[in-house]
C-alpha cells in the first residue's frame, strides 16, 4: 500500500497534448490515457469522497468499468509510454479495489492518507488493559502446545481456552461495533465539512480501535488454530 501521498494537488497537465486537464482517467483534449494525478488516492480513483461507508455494488461496478477501460489489452498497438501507463494504472486500480473492498483495510488506508498512521513509524500504543489478558492467554496456548507434544491430558486446558475464545470473540464483536459507529461519526464529520483538528480526533480514535482489534483478532486466530 502506498502511503507517500503529497498533500497538495498540483494541476494536471496531459503528458501528450500538454493541455491542462481535469480528467481523472482520459484527457478530454486528446483522449489519451492519463497518468494518475499526483496526490490522488484510492477514493479519488473511484471518484468517491473520503468516507468509510461505501456501497459495495457500486464500487464493484465502477471497478469493472475502469478495469475494462484501463486494461493493457486496449493498448497493445499504442506507444510504449501508453502501454506502461495502462499497466501501472491497472495495477493501481487493483490495489485500490482490494483496499476499499475490505472494511478494515479501508480504515487502515484512510488513517494512512489522513496522516494518522505513518508507515515505518511503528509507534502504535498497545491497549494496556488488554495486555495482561493477552499475555495469560498466550501462556495457556503455550501450555496446550506442550501438553499436546507430551501427549498428556489437555481437557482442562482446552476448556480454559474455549472459554477464552468465547470471551475474545465477544470482545471482537464489541470492537467491530465500536469501529462501525466511529466510522459513521467520521462520515458525518466529512459531510459537515469538518476541519483538520476534528478529523484528527476521530482518526486517532479509529486508530486506537484498530490496534485493539488487531490484538484481539490475532489471539482469536491463534486460539482457534490450537483448538482444532
Amino acid at each position: 500500500m502506498s502511503t507517500q501521498l503529497p498533500v497538495t494537488n498540483p494541476p494536471l497537465v496531459c503528458w501528450n497534448c500538454h493541455e491542462r486537464t481535469i480528467g481523472t482517467h482520459f484527457c478530454p483534449g486528446c483522449g489519451k490515457l492519463l497518468q494518475l494525478p499526483l496526490g490522488s488516492d484510492y477514493f479519488a480513483m473511484f471518484e468517491l469522497p473520503r468516507k468509510l461507508w461505501i456501497e459495495m455494488g457500486a464500487l464493484e461496478q465502477k471497478f469493472l468499468q475502469l478495469s475494462w477501460k484501463l486494461h493493457p489489452d486496449n493498448f497493445v498497438s499504442a506507444t510504449e509510454q501508453e502501454r506502461e501507463i495502462s499497466l501501472k494504472r491497472s495495477s493501481e486500480l487493483n490495489d485500490a479495489y482490494r483496499t476499499l473492498r475490505d472494511p478494515i483495510a479501508r480504515v487502515e488506508y484512510l488513517l494512512a492518507i489522513e496522516g494518522t498512521r505513518k508507515n515505518g513509524e511503528n509507534k502504535q500504543q498497545a491497549p494496556p488493559e488488554l495486555l495482561e489478558e493477552v499475555f495469560e492467554l498466550n501462556e495457556s496456548l503455550d501450555e496446550l502446545r506442550e501438553a499436546k507434544a507430551e501427549g498428556s491430558d489437555t481437557a482442562s486446558l482446552r476448556q480454559r481456552l474455549e472459554a477464552a475464545e468465547k470471551n475474545f470473540g465477544e470482545k471482537l464483536k464489541d470492537v467491530d461495533g465500536a469501529l462501525q459507529s466511529k466510522a459513521r461519526e467520521w462520515d458525518g464529520a466529512i459531510d459537515a465539512g469538518a476541519e483538520v483538528p476534528d478529523r484528527g480526533k476521530i482518526m486517532a480514535q479509529l486508530n486506537d480501535l484498530l490496534n485493539r482489534r488487531s490484538y484481539i483478532r490475532n489471539l482469536v486466530v491463534n486460539v482457534q488454530k490450537e483448538l482444532l
Binding site: 511503528n122 502504535q124 500504543q125 498497545a126 495486555l131 499475555f135 498466550n138 488487531s214 490484538y215
Partner: protein, 138 residues
C-alpha cells in the same frame, strides 16, 4: 529476509527466559505490546534497593524471532547494571547489536519500552516518582 546470526542465536538459545514473583517488592515488571504484529513482551528484574543494581532479569515474549532476540538481549544487558545505566540503553543499541532490518525496528523499541516499564514499576513500588522522560514513551 534472513535473520542475522545473532538473532538466530538468541532465538534458539534465549537467555533468561522465565519469570520472577510479581509480588516481590524488589521486582519490577514491564509488560508491553506491539499491536501491529500482536507481540507481547514481559520483562522482569530484581533490583537491589541499596545499590540500585539489577541482580536478576527474566523475560517471556510471545512474538517473532526479532522480538524474542531483542528481549533476550535486553535481559543480558541490564543484568549487573544500575537502574540509571539500564535506562540509558537505547533501542538503536539493540538494532545495531542484532543487525535488525528496518521492518523489525519496532521489536527493539518494544524491548526498550519493556526495560523502562519494568524499572518504572519497581520505582513505583518504592514510592519514587517516575519522570516523564523515563516512561515508556513509544
Amino acid at each position: 529476509m534472513a535473520y542475522s546470526e545473532k538473532v538466530v542465536d538468541h532465538y534458539n538459545n534465549p537467555r533468561n527466559v522465565g519469570s520472577l514473583s510479581k509480588e516481590d517488592p524488589n521486582v519490577g515488571t514491564g509488560l508491553v505490546g506491539a499491536p501491529e504484529c500482536g507481540d507481547v513482551m514481559k520483562l522482569q528484574m530484581r533490583i537491589n534497593p541499596e545499590t540500585q543494581v539489577i541482580e536478576e532479569a527474566k523475560f517471556k515474549t510471545f512474538g517473532c524471532g526479532s522480538a524474542i532476540a531483542s528481549s533476550s538481549l535486553a535481559t543480558e544487558w541490564v543484568k549487573g547494571k544500575t537502574v540509571e545505566e539500564a535506562l540509558a540503553i537505547k533501542n538503536t543499541d539493540i538494532v545495531r547489536e542484532l543487525s535488525l532490518p528496518p521492518v523489525k525496528i519496532h521489536c527493539s523499541v518494544l524491548a526498550e519500552d519493556a526495560i523502562k516499564a519494568a524499572i518504572g514499576n519497581w520505582k513505583k513500588k518504592h514510592g519514587v516518582e517516575v519522570p516523564e522522560h523515563e516512561k515508556a514513551s513509544h
